[in-house]
């Protein structure tokens, strides 16, 4: 009952927002603030006849690749730093430095050093994300239960099985946290990377719309993009998290 009431409230606030927007657009009556109906019809046109799906697909692919690279490298480094004090001591200040370099600096430097290439784009995004993954996973690696590792040792469980069935599950909550915040960050950085040095993708399209002051187009793409993020959260992240934590009472 509470649940249905909550979803009512959710829907109601969204509806109210659209209504206010529509009224404001009608009052202003200028292309600077297109009405939601206009944005939706533009979105429909882009979807059916335009190139929205193509650009969205390109952006999604970049997000996926740089996300996977950042998670893999960040996890590996985080585990090593959490496990070995010497490595941690040696790399910690570099990590703090990397955490505080503005995303824009990494992006510009990558483009200058590697050219306006796909590799440069993906590298720039991954580099921005790796340090935060390291910090989160390192925390998890430090909290690993030695008693459970001893069980695997005494019973001569193979290294691989120990890693997958005893060690890694202890990191799942940390990996999920890193993945969540990682996606949120990477979505945003990928658009900047595309705006600055790619000739396709959502970021590139937004840049084009910006030059023509095509606010309807910008909002239509934003809608599409937000919808994709919500879908990824609903069909990928949440089921994954449920699966990984189903043993919790």
């Amino acid at each position: 009952m509470l649940r249905s009431r909550e979803s009512w409230l959710r829907g109601l606030s969204l509806l109210g927002f659209l209504l206010v927007w529509q009224l404001a657009a009608m009052a202003v009556n200028k292309p600077l603030l297109p009405a939601p109906t206009l944005v939706l019809s533009s979105l429909w046109n882009e979807l059916t006849g335009g190139s929205l799906l193509y650009h969205l697909g390109i952006t999604l692919a970049r997000v996926a690749v740089s996300f996977l690279i950042a998670m893999a490298l960040g996890t590996a480094l985080g585990i090593v730093m959490g496990r070995y004090r010497d490595v941690d001591a040696a790399l910690d200040s570099l990590l703090v430095l990397a955490l505080n370099i503005p995303a824009l600096v990494t992006i510009i430097l990558c483009y200058i050093w590697f050219g306006l290439t796909e590799t440069a784009a993906v590298t720039a995004v991954a580099l921005n994300k790796i340090p935060t993954v390291v910090v989160t996973v390192r925390e998890g690696a430090r909290a690993v239960d030695r008693q459970l590792m001893e069980v695997a040792g005494v019973y001569r469980v193979s290294t691989w099985r120990t890693f997958v069935q005893v060690y890694l599950p202890q990191l799942y909550p940390y990996l999920m946290a890193a993945a969540r915040s990682g996606l949120a960050l990477i979505w945003k950085i990928v658009l900047v990377v595309e705006l600055l040095g790619r000739s396709n993708g959502v970021g590139f399209q937004l840049g084009t719309f910006f030059q023509f002051f095509d606010i309807t187009g910008i909002l239509a793409y934003t809608f599409a993009f937000a919808a994709v993020v919500l879908v990824v959260e609903a069909i990928l992240m949440r089921p994954l998290e449920r699966r990984l934590t189903r043993w919790r009472p």
Binding site: Q147, L148, E150, V151, A152, G153, V154, Y155, R156, V157, R161, Q165, V166, P169, Y172, L244, R246, W247, R248, P249
Partner: protein, 271 residues
């Protein structure tokens, strides 16, 4: 399957200190023998088991099975089952997966796991997660885990500590049943003299720090034995009268601890 064990620890120092945990601790176990080790807190009982299990390698001494070093080149040359004070099950694995974890995959594995689960009365929980089980059930699973890989050597570190009396009694009975099938050589650490006498072929007494064997008693009462039986009580009292200095501290600890394995609990023991 049966394995003799020879432990010879010349000196073991707690890491980072100069406190001697164990000194000149020597013990042997015959193939298939059930040896209980009792001693007050701080006698290095857990340290001893960790050394035999290869979890603790920073010491001066050696451990041999059948005349061969047990730990060579970082490998352990015998199958060791270890029942810890805590159940230590992986919370994210089902009971079945927890047990399969310690097995090298082979065809009879699943059948053997099911057989043992049935034997300890847990046939219907193989797909449950440890958090869904009671404490006593978790202990039973951890007991099964120690037997499922057909151990040659079984190490037990106060496995029935802080359990209520009926549960502890049931687990002791299960332990003896499982032990009777394979007859691994057992080192059973406890600070309950009665428990040691009820279970073991031979009981070794350790002094407190540094721990070393100060007394050895062989228990020649036929099995099955129950903790609360009169003959165990008699043996217990006789030892106490014979070695008051050695054992009084031990018994005080036993009285203080909440495990409640006292004869008055006799009527509670069922199932």
């Amino acid at each position: 399957m049966k394995t003799s064990l020879e432990v010879n620890i010349r000196r073991k120092i707690f890491p980072g200190t100069d406190v001697v945990a164990v000194e000149e601790l020597m013990l042997t176990a015959l193939p298939g023998e059930f040896v209980a080790i009792v001693g007050p807190s701080g006698a290095g009982k857990s340290t001893l088991l960790n050394i035999v299990a290869g979890l603790d390698r920073e010491m001066d001494g050696d451990v041999q099975v059948d005349g061969q070093p047990l730990h060579a080149d970082g490998l352990i040359s015998a199958r060791i089952g270890f029942v810890f004070q805590e159940p230590r099950l992986m919370p994210w694995l089902t009971v079945m997966d927890n047990l399969m974890l310690v097995l090298v995959k082979s065809t009879d594995s699943v059948e053997r796991v099911r057989h043992l689960l049935r034997e300890v009365g847990l046939a219907d929980i193989e797909q449950s997660f440890p958090n869904q089980l009671s404490g006593g059930m978790q202990r039973r699973v951890s007991l099964v885990r120690a037997f499922v890989m057909r151990p040659e050597l079984l190490l037990m570190d106060e496995p029935f500590l802080s359990l209520d009396a009926p549960t502890a009694a049931r687990l002791r009975r299960l332990l003896l049943t499982l032990w009777g099938e394979l007859h691994p050589t057992v080192l059973f650490v406890t600070h309950h003299l009665r428990e040691a006498l009820a279970l073991a072929d031979r009981v070794l007494f350790l002094s407190s720090s540094p721990g070393r064997v100060v007394l050895e008693v062989s228990v020649q009462l036929p099995r099955p034995r129950e903790l609360e039986e009169a003959r165990i009580g008699e043996l217990h009292d006789r030892l106490l009268a014979q070695y008051p200095d050695l054992l009084s501290g031990l018994v005080e600890e036993e009285m203080r601890s909440a495990s409640g394995i006292t004869p008055s609990d006799n009527h509670l023991v069922s199932n």
